[in-house]
């Protein structure tokens, strides 16, 4: 038989007919459609048993409790802890994204040493040896004091261990990064005559005067304050927001008072002047529990009469007067201090001005007011052992020339860091960095980077590859807060005592080590009196011994608190004459009252102010992918930052909405886009903190401009803290 065309076609026909009689076409169609529905590269998350672990968030000082949902060994989601005294189930965008920090590409996976400009992985043993060799050499050379440390943590055992480590080595140059809370605490301490912590009983207030505080934008303890704001809405409390820009807080406030930037203190004093002049102050408090009122009154009436205050602040005197009457007339008023999210300290005068305003209406140690609570030492650790080298080192002045035991806060060192590190009393030879990213978040960050380049040996404890790590010689990566034990002190302004604990929600993913352990191990390796100063086998033992009986509750519940706590009454708090509230306390009436922004108004006709938003993290940890995704396209578009400019101001310059412009300040020049924003005072430009990151995370790096490159620090003569709130600027069409 020969195969011809017809029989071939017939064969095909038969095959077709046969195929139709088999399940092949239908089954193949079904399988192929299933295949296209589940591409092999689409991940299939493993299912398993769901468990929940209570812990604490340590990304910011807000002190929230978190509950992490896990499926088998994987952490799936972070949620706010129900029933936690700070956040009761609520949580902020950054806290929600913590797992992206844990599992994300930013992690440093092992100790690393820089060799010829490249990172080389090393063992922990080698890393510890390298650091101890360097320290030994410096100490033997009589340069113990040239070892510095910048810690982003103000409180808690890790910061205490670091400070202790530096003292045991013989260095007075332990620097912590102060915030507006520290400035306020300092103001309260000065005025009360004792070391105090300050709490705000915000939930109970019914008239809130906010001097630029971003109450719902991350101020002090972000979630707690947003919750307090909702309480205010429910009980119809009044919120008055005073700042140059219509922030989200101003937008939700009952009244927005646009004030000249930097004139918040003058406004507080202007309001106080009206209260004093019209005798609206709390006489019971002022007459029985305070002193220095006469001097205060004279100063107010002299320098802050409504007209004078109006000319400084740009707020009409009638508005100042009515604010004063409303504030003094409220049953539970409170005034809040600290611009934006409160990360910048500001001047002591301004903090005192706000606290004095609270005091004259009696909003101190009573419901709805400021709670001043005496500070107690957090731990009863044994005395630090010091050998001869350490004793000698601690006889040297700090890099700012002050005595090691100086009253001036170690936070004052960071506002002048770039200058002091290289041309202070002596140059720093070694520097430890923990929980901080100075090369990004310090003002005038380019100058900070230049200073870092001149420090021969820098050790970073960072968990993440950030701007500062790039300048380090060695990294001893910390576990993330989801992999380690660490105490979380009471959040800023909490009032009632709360302590949280982070715990290993997952086992450490990489070859990292808790900084507490690294410090203890380092001390052990250095040996001698340094090792003796750290009598704990490891950091967990240190925590257990430090918290004693409290540890059990911390382990079990994730936090400890005292919800019944209330501050001492006026009677008890101010019973002795010397302990009276002092309106004329040192550094208040005679201090420098205003910080004049850098730059001359001829070359720089505008004023640039930074602003904070919960969608951009301006601190040492940059936005994880989820959070940067929420940033509006009027803030960041591709790689361009937008600045907010009043349409009137923009019109004068001739920049269209969305147009490109060159923004220059005495510190630097950048290309930006302009967002015409009606909610900003003419002549003022606003730019968010949190953009313009470097580093290697492609989801964060090279997006927009870092505002810290454009603004320099201005140390407050009283506190030494950075008092800058902005800088003069020029905007030209590009």
């Amino acid at each position: 038989m020969k195969i011809d065309r017809r029989s071939f076609l017939s064969l095909g026909l038969g095959a077709a007919a046969g195929t139709a009689l088999t399940p092949l076409p239908w089954k193949l169609t079904d399988d192929l459609s299933i295949w296209t529905q589940m591409w092999p590269w689409t991940p299939v998350p493993q299912d398993g048993e769901t468990t929940y672990v209570n812990s604490a968030c340590a990304i910011c000082p807000g002190g929230c409790g978190i509950t992490v949902r896990k499926v088998e060994d994987r952490a799936i989601k972070i949620e706010g802890m129900d029933g936690h005294p700070v956040n009761d189930g609520g949580i902020c965008p950054l806290g929600l994204s913590g797992l992206q920090l844990l599992y994300g590409p930013r992690r440093i996976k092992s100790p690393m040493k820089k060799e010829n400009g490249k990172w080389v992985k090393i063992s922990w043993k080698e890393a510890i040896a390298v650091v101890s060799d360097q320290i030994d050499a410096l100490r033997k050379n009589g340069e113990a004091q040239a070892i510095g440390c910048i810690s982003g943590l103000r409180k808690g055992t890790t910061s205490q261990l670091l400070e202790r480590f530096l003292l045991s080595l013989g260095s007075p140059n332990y620097m912590s990064i102060p915030s507006s809370y520290d400035a306020y605490e300092l103001a309260v301490s000065r005025m009360h005559g004792r070391r105090m912590t300050a709490g705000i009983d915000a939930e109970e207030s019914n008239f809130i005067l906010s001097f630029g505080s971003g109450v719902i934008e991350g101020w002090w303890s972000p979630v707690r304050m947003i919750r307090a704001h909702s309480v205010w809405k429910e009980k119809k409390a009044k919120l008055v927001q005073m700042e140059a820009r219509l922030s989200n807080t101003a937008a939700q406030a009952d009244k927005w008072i646009p004030v000249n930037p930097g004139a918040e203190a003058a406004l507080a004093m202007g309001i106080a002047a009206v209260i004093v002049k019209e005798s609206l102050y709390d006489k019971a408090f002022v007459e029985n529990y305070s002193r220095g009122f006469e001097e205060f009154r004279n100063m107010l009436l002299d320098a802050y009469s409504p007209d004078k205050a109006a000319s400084i602040t740009g707020v009409p005197s009638s508005v100042i007067e009515s604010l004063a009457r409303d504030f003094a007339g409220a049953s539970r008023p409170v005034a809040l201090y600290g611009r934006g999210n409160g990360s910048q300290p500001g001047t002591l005068f301004e903090a005192m001005a706000v606290h004095a305003l609270n005091a004259i209406v009696g909003a101190v140690n009573r419901p709805g007011g400021v709670w001043a609570v005496e500070q107690t030492d957090d731990n009863d650790w044994p005395a630090i052992q010091m050998d001869e080298i350490a004793k000698k080192g601690l006889k040297s002045p700090r890099i700012d020339g002050l005595d090691p035991g100086s009253e001036k806060d170690p936070g004052s060192l960071v506002s002048r860091f770039s200058e002091l590190a290289v041309s202070g009393e002596y140059p720093l030879k070694a520097l430890f960095i923990a929980g901080a990213n100075p090369c990004y978040s310090f003002p005038d960050s380019n100058a900070v980077k230049a200073a870092f380049e001149k420090i021969p040996f820098i050790v970073s404890f960072s968990s993440y590859m950030d701007e500062t790590v790039e300048y380090a010689s060695l990294v001893l990566p910390n576990h993330t807060y989801l992999e380690r034990y660490e105490d979380v002190p009471a959040p800023r302004g909490m009032g009632k005592p709360v302590r949280g604990i982070t715990r290993p929600v997952v086992s450490p993913l990489y070859n990292t080590r808790n900084t507490g352990d690294a410090v203890i191990e380092l001390a052990g390796k250095i040996g001698g009196s340094v090792a003796e100063s750290f009598p704990w086998g490891d950091y967990e033992t240190c925590l257990q011994e430090t918290f004693g009986e409290e540890w059990g509750t911390l382990e079990e519940e994730g936090f400890t608190s005292d919800s019944d706590f209330s501050p001492r009454s006026w009677e008890e708090a101010f019973k002795e004459d010397s302990g009276k509230f002092n309106f004329a306390s040192a550094g208040f009436l005679d201090s420098v009252r205003e910080i004049v922004p850098e730059g001359d108004d001829g070359s720089y006709p505008l004023i640039l102010v930074p602003y904070d938003t919960l969608r951009l993290s301006g601190g040492y940890i940059g936005d994880p992918p989820f959070v940067i995704k929420t940033v509006e396209d009027t803030v960041l578009k591709k790689r361009d930052s937008f600045v907010e400019v009043n349409p009137e101001t923009a019109g004068k310059i001739g920049v269209k909405n969305g147009g490109y412009a060159t923004l220059s300040t005495p510190k630097g020049q950048v290309k930006v886009r302009v967002n015409h924003y009606d909610g900003i005072k003419p002549g003022v430009i606003a730019m968010p903190r949190g953009l313009g990151h470097g580093g290697t995370d492609e989801y964060l790096a090279e997006k927009g401009v870092n505002v810290n490159e454009l603004i320099g620090p201005i140390p407050d003569p009283q506190s030494g803290f950075d008092g800058a709130w902005g800088i003069r600027a020029k905007l030209t069409r590009a």
């Binding site: 020969k2 029989s7 017939s10 095909g12 038969g14 399940p23 092949l24 299933i34 048993e49």
Partner: protein
């Protein structure tokens, strides 16, 4: 070849052929034979297709995979109190599925019966703290949400209804993996035609679920008048 076919073929040929046209090589073949070869071709084609469709295709479509070692449900069933002793519900109502090592370890910390399979289990998995990578016959695609509690507790169905008499099996049947989809043959069912299904447990496709739900009076979908999509999808 029958005469009728020949006649027909002739007339067709006559009708097609143009008078005077040169005869082609192929047409030299006897008409009857040509016709026969067409039919034979058809039949061969049909046969090949049927063989491919019914025998070769299923053989190629499914690749037989071994389980890590053999397991007897029957032996275990005699020792424990029903399926839920090992295939239990967690406190949150989710179903644990195939038990993890910690549960087996209660009895199998040491070798008990002494079969080669048990030795493999104890020495390679229990002692090394390694979970057994079982292949799950009833594993559904990721887009499927299935609640055992809804079926077993709420609807009071037996395990056998969907899983068949697996509890009585003495050894694990081979796992047949669909090479295109990656899922077990048990989802589509042993019968490649998908027809003559006698038991519910013979296949686990969406239509099987939908039919049963419809039967039970669940018709919350506006589009299909069957049960709503989100009942079983995630």
């Amino acid at each position: 070849m029958s005469t009728i076919e020949e006649n027909t073929k002739d007339s067709v040929d006559a009708a097609v052929k143009e008078p005077g046209a040169p005869e082609k090589e192929s047409e030299k073949i006897e008409p009857g034979l040509a016709q026969g070869s067409i039919i034979v071709s058809f039949v061969i084609g049909l046969a090949i297709a049927l063989i491919i469709g019914w025998i070769v295709f299923p053989a190629l479509l499914y690749s037989e995979k071994e389980q890590p070692f053999d397991f007897s449900h029957e032996v275990h069933n005699d020792l424990v109190d029903g399926c839920e002793s090992c295939h239990y519900f967690r406190d949150d109502g989710t179903f644990a599925g195939v038990p993890k090592l910690w549960l087996c370890r209660d009895c199998h910390e040491e070798v008990q019966g002494g079969t080669a399979d048990e030795e493999t289990f104890v020495y390679e998995y229990v002692w090394n703290d390694r979970e057994v990578p079982w292949r799950i016959y009833s594993k559904q695609p990721d887009c499927v949400f299935f609640s055992h509690a809804a079926h077993v507790v709420k609807a009071e169905m037996d395990c056998e209804t969907c899983h068949g008499p697996i509890g009585e099996s003495d050894s694990l049947k081979p796992y047949e993996e669909n090479v295109i989809t990656g899922y077990s043959r048990d989802i589509w069912g042993k019968s490649i035609s998908g027809l003559n299904k006698k038991h519910i447990w013979e296949s686990m496709k969406m239509d099987d679920c939908a039919d049963c739900h419809k039967e039970a009076g669940m018709e919350s979908s506006v589009q299909t008048k069957k049960d709503a999509c989100f009942v079983c999808h995630k």
